[in-house]
Amino acid sequence: MTATATSARSELSELGRSETALRTFLHGLPGVDQVGAEQRAAQLGTRSIKTTAKAQAIDLAIRMVDLTTLEGADTPGKVRALAAKALRPDPADPSCPHVGAVCVYPAMVPHVAEVLRGSGVHLASVATAFPSGQAPLEVKLADTRAAVAAGADEIDMVINRGAFLAGRYSEVYDEIVAVKEACGSADGGRQGRPAAHLKVILETGELATYDNVRRASWLAMLAGGDFIKTSTGKVPVAATLPVTLVMLEAVRDFRAATGRQVGVKPAGGIKTTKDAIKYLVMVNETVGADWLDPDWFRFGASSLLNDLLMQRTKLTTGTYSGPDYFTLD
């Protein structure tokens, strides 16, 4: 990190202390022109990724999947099956990589943890009264601690959109800081276990404008988020390419300003290989190779995985596959 970045980082870390400073900073960020951003995203979507590039992209995308189930009807049996699939997505092909993580509700974490232990597949848990976030702070923190204690090494929190839209940025900021702290407090670090990674869900579908997405991204990063994530998947508008573009620009600019790299996770609505490849192209051409890694980019998805597997089979065998040949979860 350069000296300038260090000083910029320390200046930026002061922002959270004052509502006014935070507001001034967030509203001083460059605006986003909706039409221009959407056109750029659409243009990147016209890239033609074929043959070797496609094979490379599919394997990378599989490694980036946060295989997710977030249903009221989730049971230990269901999430164990999902975890098994995460470890070996294509039982017929040992060369197929495992996914990035499994993402479940806190109550399901212990069941998944048993399956994943030692596998290298991360265990993500939503927390903080997901998906609405409408609970007292103590409840959200307890939710977080419980998930971490049960074995989650990644926490997907939701921001308080109500407070954000009302302009109470400090409230949103303080809450993220508190949850981040809770992520590391499961065992107080005594056993050398690193703090859980914090993914901050902006719920961009509720933020309405790209200007808000950019501000919320910076707010989450300033407060210590390790990842910024688009959506819960529980509101009508989930991840889109242009929203992800704005978030990628934010992590790019944040690293340039502070030296700290933050990951990005589009979630919800990404169902096909074609979609996933568009995202990877966007990562490649917006932030570059540094983010083309499961540590820095993830897909929050469920049905995407099977499409990736089918396309992978098509590439290796030359014939189109069908859903009967892949496990349902």
Binding site: P30, G31, V32, D33, V35, G36, A37, Q39, R40, T46, R47, S48, I49, K50, T51, T52, A53, K54, Q56, A57, L60, E249, L280, V281, N284, E285, A289, L292
Partner: protein
Amino acid sequence: MFEYAPAPESRSVVDLKPSYGLFVDGDFVDPADGGTFKTVNPSSEEVLAEVAEAGAQDVDRAVRAARQAYERVWGPMPGRDRAKYLFRIARIIQERSRELAVLESLDNGKPIRESRDVDLPLVAAHFFYYAGWADKLEHAGFGANPRPLGVAAQVIPWNFPLLMLAWKIAPALAAGNTVVLKPAETTPLTALLFAEICQQADLPAGVVNIVTGAGDTGRVLVEHPGVDKVAFTGSTEVGRAIARAVAGTRKKLTLELGGKAANIVFDDAPVDQAVEGIVTGIFFNQGHVCCAGSRLLIQENVADRVLESLKRRMARLRVGDPLDKNTDIGAINSAAQLARIRELSDAGSAEGAERWSPPCELPERGFWFAPTIFTGVTQAHRIAREEIFGPVLSVLTFRTPAEAVEKANNTPYGLSAGIWTDKGSRILWMADRLRAGVVWANTFNKFDPTSPFGGYKESGYGREGGRHGLEGYLNV
């Protein structure tokens, strides 16, 4: 790293003939004196075809055919029927769009992404738009009984061969004129395929005539006493010569000439979109664009930041095979144009501007030029005054809106301008003061058949597109 594998568009969709004749009076004919020239693929220097070179006799024959078609068929034809022919043409263009796009990229060197996603959709849309005017001319605002002019002589450039053809032919035919069109000598092929489309549409013979050739053919055409209208798109130098040539005649003249547009970025601009706009402004179509944003004016207090973003973005530009679907920048259209770009760029360096290009491997054969920016440019530099018509951007700075306007207008050209700021009232204030025919605010290089296009000052006169585009082809 994520390397994109080659993704070439197939050439097989194009059926290239070894040689092409002139399209006169509905048929392909040999030139009277048998002259030919070769057209090459600028990305490989491969000869694509031999093309007939029209001499004075051929031009005369084409003008007579156009005159006869005007007097006997197209002039008397009810507007609603002219409309139907134009609609037909629009539809065939849509149906054969991939073939036309591939051929355009082969002959011109532009990336298939652009010929496919920009040129061809606009070409079809242009015919579709003007088709609808053919039976509504009395509502166009030019009086109750607008009359066609007669025979239009049209000379177009090589940068958007088929799109410029559409801009010329669609309004001319809608208004009831017949045409003799000369495509540029380096890019004649899509115009000749268009001639086939005219046949396919059963367009009456002589309504559209295509005479291929170089500058001499064009000169003979515009000077022909049998033409009533001259429309030219190209350099200001040639435009001037044409304006002189038509002096004292009845010929109505429209000229769409050069430019040296300022693209002005304020400190409150939506910076990521501005950077895209700068890139689109100067690197779209290899910078072979008369309205290119070739002078970047950045507010001094954000100049370093914007340039850093711009350079980072430029490093992502993919230069190479025009037929690869992932290519952003294709080949320079000709050896002559490449020489001119090199000469002016060298002058930029010699005059003390700082030159930068991203690392970029250029193919060995063909005509190539890496995307380039010059910083530390002043209004006195040649690269800030002369049209380079290539992927070369001159960067200047300003301090106040008034200074930006002054610098932007400080040129004999006046075709286009760009403004990037989040402040609405400043956009309108600037737009009022910029002496340019098209002002793009928070966007750049956008075109539409309904939107008039054309310049102030030495960028020419008359407008193409929209209701205004009819005026140049009507006796009003």
